[in-house]
């Protein structure tokens, strides 16, 4: 095989694979957007008449609004806790050195190595026992704890990666200049790792927002958007779900572009630092 032919073949395989995978990824998304504008009650192709009727039906559905509220509350709480714990965890992972550091790393990473449903089921057993003792029933609170357990390892990893580029001499310089440890943390360390913290928070929010398995096992009778959709499509497809899908794409899109911007800004800052140094 000549070199030219080899290059041709490689190009076909490489460009082809990216185009194919993008089409593959967007097949169900495009299908949902198309069907959200149907007039018919039955979701079959071709769509004979277009309308925005199901958007109206969706917005009039009280279960939709309550699960939207639950999803938002759950995601905000989980993001808050997971990000705070993730900041601490990232310091312990990559800036400090201490006895039992490896045990700490393994323990805080382990939830990622469990299938999500099993993580949820195992926690559910414990929560049911706790609930019996404390006279509570599993609900939003147990889902929040489950999400935090699952999402914190992601936050630790993302913030740790941001810390890789951190220049320790800054801390020492500030210490020499008489800054307290709290001042160093607040004025120097945190601002520098802020892009990482933001990315971690946004990622945590999205992971929690879209989470199905853990919410399904832990939220009791409280419903979030994913479990609301699941309970709906399990009994037979209803025409409001494509409309719901299309509506939820919008905020996710905004958030993802925000992350892209933040990362680019962080990269530029790193580059300019290298140029100065």
């Amino acid at each position: 095989m000549t070199d030219q032919m080899e290059k041709r073949l490689a190009d076909i395989v490489l460009y082809g694979s990216v185009i194919a995978v993008l089409i593959f990824f967007y097949i169900p998304i495009a299908t949902l957007i198309l069907f959200s504008f149907t007039q018919s009650r039955f979701l079959s192709w071709p769509i004979s008449e277009f309308s925005t009727r199901w958007y109206g039906e969706l917005l009039a559905d009280r279960d939709f609004w309550s699960s939207l509220g639950n999803s938002a509350l759950l995601a905000v709480l989980a993001t808050l806790f997971a990000t705070l714990l993730g900041i601490g965890g990232a310091f312990a992972w990559s800036r400090y050195k201490f006895r039992f550091q490896w045990s700490f790393r393994i323990l805080t990473f382990a939830p990622l190595l469990f299938p999500q449903l099993l993580l949820g089921v195992v926690m559910l057993l414990w929560f049911s026992v706790l609930a019996g003792w404390l006279n509570l029933s599993p609900g939003l609170w147990s889902a929040v704890i489950g999400h935090v357990i699952y999402i914190t390892p992601f936050c630790i990893v993302i913030i740790s990666v941001q810390m890789q580029g951190y220049d320790d001499t800054l801390d020492y310089a500030a210490e020499d200049a008489g800054a307290t440890r709290w001042q160093i943390l607040r004025e120097i360390t945190l601002p520098l790792i802020l892009p990482g913290i933001f990315s971690a928070a946004i990622f945590a929010f999205l992971l929690s927002w879209g989470n199905f398995y853990i919410t399904y096992s832990l939220s009791g009778s409280t419903r979030t958007l994913p479990t609301f959709v699941f309970s709906g499509i399990a009994v037979g497809s209803s025409p409001i779900y494509p409309a719901l899908a299309t509506l939820t794409f919008l905020p996710a899109l905004v958030l993802i572009f925000a992350v892209g911007r933040l990362r680019k800004r962080a990269a530029r800052r790193r580059l300019s630092k290298v140029a100065e140094g």
Partner: protein, 290 residues
């Protein structure tokens, strides 16, 4: 980066680790121990009875039905892992070296698709693949017989859904580790007369191994626990282990059985990961002896 030596008496270390340790201990380690203990109890009239015997375990080990489902889960997970790992390699490579000008946009598109609610996307696949769905409707319009593609509600549909939901993980980890490879190494190999394929095979691929392995492990673990795809796309005709576990908790309200099956699945997953670890270690040693 220099690391700061800390002792456990240090306030900053305690502040950054103790809340996390407390949470993990209370809601991750204790539940695991609880699950193990629970598998030695029994049920009567849908209620948990503290019997402390091994009845559930003899039941689990004597019923071939459970092991058939476990075996099916394991093979599905392995096939899914293989597909996701192999497919990710050309995609990650192309994103870095052929489409690098567009790689930001492509990454954003992939992240967006990835982070969209999996339940909705799976439902989207049903609408697409259905007998009267988009695919069959379009095929019929261009002259194929009605319902030409009849894949929905079969194990193949389950596999499409699993690969769809898990492929992004391997693409991202593989791309991350390929991006760290020094391009000069590949160019040096080419200068020394290696063909493109050979340079890829002997330079890029070995150096990208950590990311490829990480993605494979992640996908394997996640695919062991799927029940959304088998239920929604597979039509529940060939349930996997997660569905079995869910049923023993919800439908049969047999918690000790559910706990035992959960542990079996965790042990199977851990055993496969350990085997992969030993294999990787062995291969690395053999490679360094050459």
């Amino acid at each position: 980066m220099a690391e700061m030596q800390k002792s456990w008496r240090d306030g900053a270390l305690r502040l950054s680790t103790l809340p996390l340790l407390l949470l993990m201990g209370l809601f991750f380690v204790i539940p695991l121990i609880m699950t193990a203990l629970l598998s030695f109890q029994g049920t009567q009239y849908y209620r948990l009875v503290w019997t402390w015997d091994t009845n559930v375990w003899t039941d689990v080990f004597s019923q071939i039905h459970y092991w058939k489902i476990m075996w099916r889960t394991l093979t599905m997970a392995l096939v899914c892992t293989l597909l996701c790992t192999v497919l990710a390699i050309p995609i990650a490579y192309a994103m870095l070296h052929r489409l690098s000008r567009w790689s930001d946009q492509i990454t954003l598109l992939m992240v967006f698709a990835f982070l969209t609610d999996a339940v909705l996307k799976t439902f989207g696949w049903v609408l697409f693949l259905d007998r009267s769905g988009v695919l069959n409707g379009t095929l019929e319009a261009i002259g194929f017989p009605p319902a030409a593609v009849n894949v929905l509600f079969s194990p193949n549909a389950t596999m499409i859904g699993m690969v769809y939901n898990l492929l992004p993980y391997t693409i991202f980890t593989t791309a991350l580790s390929m991006a760290r490879i020094d391009r000069d190494l590949v160019l040096a190999a080419r200068d020394a007369g290696a063909t493109r394929l050979r340079a890829f095979h002997e330079v890029t691929l070995p150096l990208a191994k950590p990311g490829i392995w990480a993605g494979a492990v992640l996908v394997f673990v996640l695919s062991l626990g799927v029940f959304l795809e088998p239920k929604v796309m597979g039509g529940g005709t060939s349930p996997l282990a997660a569905e079995l576990i869910r049923q023993s908790f919800e439908t049969r309200v047999n918690w000790p059985l559910g706990a035992a099956l959960t542990l079996v699945l965790i042990v199977i997953g851990a055993a496969v990961l350990a085997m992969a670890g030993v294999l990787a270690f062995w291969q690395a040693r053999r490679g360094s002896n050459d």
